[in-house]
């Protein structure tokens, strides 16, 4: 059967391309202008003189510190998630009984707990624990709120491992620990990479927990830096947009090289 081109769909996709491409053009082009060119020539025109000064200024405004903090938060969150979620998912898929299905239900319910809803008590708990204005105070709740989605994704992946494989391992007299290391983990690589992608994106882009739970310069993360920048120098659009570009650069590089894996990860996650 021959395929005819679908003009209607093609047109629709071009409309969306314009909707996505246009703001990205304005974003990118304004990072290379001077402040005065932005206000005199307007955001749409191509600037007469291109400059990298905005990027340099971002770093003297403390972007390096924000960046480092964000890296620390992201790496820690991914580490916590990788430490606790695989054993949990393994137990959910393989252990039997009412208790484990109750545990699974708790995590499913957790899917719908929005961070906004618990931010007041979180502020209370974190202050009482002495983690206020400390990166650990951002890391712990961020990781906790990644758990439900990660658990859902990973149990999905682990369910695809057939019972014959478990039987074969059992025949060898393998302990649950060995089954976990030699069968379950290697075979759920896809799920694990989805989990890493999701947790890393959540941590890298997280805003609410840092907004509420930190206050000083030394614990500021990138998203908070962007927010503060806007409230303090709202008119310096080139400075702001270059910071935005810097904030998404690491993710964008990963996207360029591992688009398929990243998109599949996000597809599997499907969540917020």
């Amino acid at each position: 059967m021959r395929r005819r081109p679908n003009y209607l769909a093609g047109l629709g996709s071009l409309v969306w391309l314009a909707l996505v491409g246009f703001p990205l053009y304005v974003l990118l082009i304004s990072t290379f202008r001077t402040r005065s060119s932005y206000s005199s020539e307007g955001p749409l025109s191509f600037p007469e003189h291109l400059t990298l000064q905005n990027y340099i200024d971002d770093f003297s405004n403390g972007f390096g510190q924000d960046f480092l903090n964000t890296v620390i938060v992201t790496v820690s969150v991914v580490a916590i998630v990788l430490l606790v979620v695989p054993p949990l998912a393994y137990a959910i898929v393989r252990a039997q009984g009412r208790t484990i299905s109750t545990v699974f239900r708790i995590f499913l319910l957790g899917l719908a707990i929005p961070a906004q809803a618990v931010i007041v008590p979180m502020f209370y708990v974190i202050s009482k624990a002495g983690f206020y204005d400390h990166l650990l105070g951002v890391i712990l709740p961020t990781a906790a709120f990644c758990l439900p989605v990660c658990t859902l994704v990973l149990t999905g992946a682990m369910r695809d491992i057939t019972s014959e494989m478990y039987e074969a391992m059992a025949m060898d007299g393998a302990s649950p620990w060995r089954v976990f290391w030699q069968l379950v983990l290697p075979l759920s690589k896809g799920g694990l990479s989805s989990v890493v992608v999701f947790a890393a994106l959540q941590a890298w882009n997280g805003f609410l927990f840092p907004l509420i739970l930190t206050q000083s310069e030394s614990t500021k993360v990138i998203t908070l830096g962007l927010y503060n920048f806007q409230t303090e120098h709202g008119v310096d659009v080139p400075g702001l947009t270059s910071a935005v570009v810097l904030s998404m650069l690491p993710i964008f590089i990963v996207y360029l090289f591992a688009r398929r894996a990243l998109v599949q990860g996000l597809m599997g996650v499907g969540g917020k």
Partner: protein
């Protein structure tokens, strides 16, 4: 600590397998302990605390003091609270109505075989990578009435002060929400559309059905389950929209775009009335939980306990 709790897992090891007469190795409950304890501490304990705090008066510095139903009666008579609930519903519904058709079309398109699809869809999904903060600050700069794009295109935007009126601000929030979330929902639909058996389309083509009729009579009905999941995610997300409101409109003009999540933030962290903030939060929790129960029911997640466990 985690390593220790795994050890007890090997306790109940071999159980007679029914089919092959082989011992089956199963992990013990201990494997679930670290994650569960962590989750209870940082997600569920705060959830219980929010209920407790909603019956107290607390300024964030002294200890919370029990004050009965005071926060609740105050909120019941607070016009801003009533307005914020109404506004939350409007924003949520507008989000679902705008995002659903766009993401279905985009997802189905991305699942097909059009030319240049790979390149285009690579660009399409860029908003997925940006934080809500970045998206909001960029759109705020772009839509700025004095220095942004509207000032350059007066034939399109009039006086350009889009966020100066309630309807304009709601439109902007809905549009930016669409820009931010459509790619993710399109991905869901792309996966859903890929799973539709091609036989259905071939049969329809033999019967002489065109592209549009195939879309209406095959694609849409087949995407029903994806649609349920996607819409429910949009509902929960819409109810708790916060970052975009904070950055784009600060709830304004006046309190015209103050939705419940933003009002909660204002009450707690700006007016230092953490008791009222907790009460608003509790309302959000209850509504979101009801929706999540619906997710679990409708999607059947709770029934897929095991596809590979016939041991």
């Amino acid at each position: 600590m985690t390593a220790l709790s795994f050890v007890s897992g090997s306790g109940r090891r071999l159980r007679a397998g029914r089919r092959a007469g082989v011992g089956v190795t199963r992990p013990g409950l201990a494997w679930a302990v670290p994650a569960t304890v962590f989750f209870l501490l940082f997600a569920l304990v705060p959830l219980v605390l929010v209920a407790v705090l909603s019956f107290t008066s607390w300024d964030g510095v002294d200890s919370p003091r029990f004050n009965g139903l005071a926060n609740w009666t105050k909120l019941l008579h607070d016009p801003v609270m009533t307005q914020s609930v109404w506004l939350t519903l409007v924003l949520t519904l507008a989000g679902v109505l705008v995002q659903t058709p766009v993401s279905i079309l985009l997802g189905v398109w991305a699942a097909g075989h059009q030319r240049n699809r790979a390149v285009l869809s690579a660009i399409f999904f860029v908003p997925l990578l940006l934080s809500a903060t970045a998206i909001s600050v960029v759109w705020r700069a772009i839509l700025d009435p004095n220095f942004g794009v509207p000032s350059q295109l007066p034939w399109l935007f009039g006086d350009g002060n889009l966020m100066g009126s309630q309807s304009g601000a709601i439109a902007v929030l809905t549009f930016v929400g669409m820009w931010q979330w459509t790619p993710m929902h399109a991905l869901l639909y792309q996966g859903g559309a890929r799973a539709i058996p091609q036989v259905l389309y071939q049969a329809a083509a033999i019967d002489g059905a065109g592209k549009v009729r195939q879309f209406i009579h095959i694609t849409l009905p087949q995407l029903r389950n994806t649609m349920i999941t996607s819409v429910i995610l949009m509902l929960v997300g819409g109810l708790t929209t916060f970052d975009t409101v904070l950055i784009l409109t600060q709830g304004g003009p006046g309190t015209d775009t103050t939705n419940s999540a933003y009002y909660m933030y204002q009450q707690a962290f700006k007016s230092f009335d953490f008791g009222s903030g907790s009460a608003i939060a509790l309302v959000l929790v209850v509504v979101a939980t009801l929706i999540s129960l619906a997710v679990v029911r409708l999607s059947g997640y709770d029934k897929m306990r095991s596809t590979s466990e016939g041991l």
